[in-house]
Symmetry: D2
Subunit: 173 residues, 4 copies
């Protein structure tokens, strides 16, 4: 299993597609965006779920945490059932977020990858993609990596997604 | 857990959103479309994955089945971990598809819902949505229900999604 | 040229796709949603542009009106250049909105179509589609038709989009 | 008016969003992708329309050309009606494509911008975005610029979209 962690607009999703293309075995791709889409609409607007502030801040509530724990257990079960899985995540809680995954993935072999991107570059790409609240990229660029331990780090500020994916693929047995 | 089974363009996804809106507890929504999106791009074009024929036929290969089994195990694990989950599915194999879910969901309480839609009506909605290969709706309208046993059936041919969802919600404890 | 006018979630876009499928000649489809997407992001959040209230209300400013006038002139020019065009619109201003189009389309042959949908039905479909602010459908269901004169009216409350499109196509020379 | 011309996956659309963000006046964004979406579905699969080959090649037919001419006339009319417009285009015909726009835009002040991207870099980004036929980027990288005359050229191979947009914005009066 591979877990990519990085801030908004750091290029994780594109990197996942490149990884799926490069790796000869079939890998399933899941991510926190897909989990958020699975929530009831009202939970994407606060209400114990996830709240996107106008300044790009993101906060989550108790219901979000409870469902997220079940989602982690499910992804872990897919891996234990033999599926190769690559997850793209945003560790808003830094080390605490990693710890949640670590517990869920007990016994599963994981390659932890940090996806870095200069705050300014990510903020520019946020404008270019046009579907994110301005400010998210800058707010998350550093905090998602706080205290997180990686097997490998890539930086998309000046390296293409496909190149980063090649570096990751080289670590996959 | 709730499993909605119906052919392409029978209105399952909209019904899921209505269910999430109606039910007071938070329910996570997953579906076979999300699973297909999680596959490597090359597996959505044959290659042991899923193949969409020009006539609207759909066939899946061995790699698809292997990953699908892991996905089922994962969804089951999420349910066992306490999440309320509603799944929208297309049982291309009819009773055999239901049997796969039944085995994966051993011990989980499931409400099986058949989503019917007249073949002609579904084919018309397929044209209106514009993002599906013409022919899928008609090809799947009947076969997905063959031999499948339901707790409840709804028919979207002449009943709105929200009304169907109300009928389903009434069966949820 | 065909102009379909109706409130949010009344089924206009699907009906346009059905019309394009039914009509033997090629028809280009444009709509107010496409125009809104063409605006700078900041104008989709007020700032003289278009503002979506939390209750589903929609209001537009002076910059929106100025650019909209140019857009209408452009669509009219496409029609005069020989393209068959079907537009789906939301006449927030009722008769005044129709008058704006009428002036822009001076000399162009237009089939005016009213797309009706019961407020309650449209509100249910708004929940099912999940990508509109709840309340828009109900707020717009009646007001968009106030004082508007049609060649033909269809009602999607109990008639499928494809059937409505057939009725419209029968009026196209 | 600004016309950006570049091959598939060269980064035009993101650059347009950056331009709309940077420029103090409101600019409307249109592009050839939007025009293709306006066509009847059957014309996006050959039938005198546009055909996407499995190798990434793209060819267009007589009906496409006829409707495209009307579309160009319409965009020109929007500009003449006072709207500031930025168009992102793929000049499959190189100089001949530019000539078509030049004729349609007679009397309109145009800033012609070439958007370059190394063929290999664009091909990598094509994999990362995952929604284009592999091969399109490489096939178009050079040919779209053949014989085209620009006021300004930018290269996204090693420069961010926002930086490229700044260079373009500096040329806008």
């Amino acid at each position: 299993m591979i877990i990519l962690n990085g801030g908004s607009s750091s290029g994780k999703t594109g990197m996942v597609r490149c990884l799926q293309s490069l790796l000869p075995d079939p890998w399933l791709a899941f991510g926190v965006d897909g989990f958020v889409d699975a929530l009831p609409a009202r939970m994407r607007d606060g209400d114990g779920g996830i709240e996107f502030g106008e300044d790009g801040s993101v906060s989550v509530g108790a219901d979000f945490r409870a469902l997220e724990a079940a989602w982690l257990a499910g992804i872990a079960a897919m891996a234990r059932a033999g599926a190769r899985i690559v997850v793209d995540e945003v560790f808003l809680g830094g080390a605490a977020s990693q710890e949640r995954w670590r517990e869920a993935l007990d016994g599963v072999d994981v390659l932890w990858v940090g996806v870095r991107c200069d705050s300014t570059v990510a903020a520019g790409r946020e404008i270019a993609r046009g579907d994110r609240t301005p400010g998210m990229a800058a707010q998350q660029a550093e905090i998602v990596h706080e205290g997180v331990v990686y097997d490998l780090e890539v930086d998309t500020s000046r390296t293409e997604s496909l190149e980063c994916a090649r570096a990751i693929a080289a670590h996959v047995r």
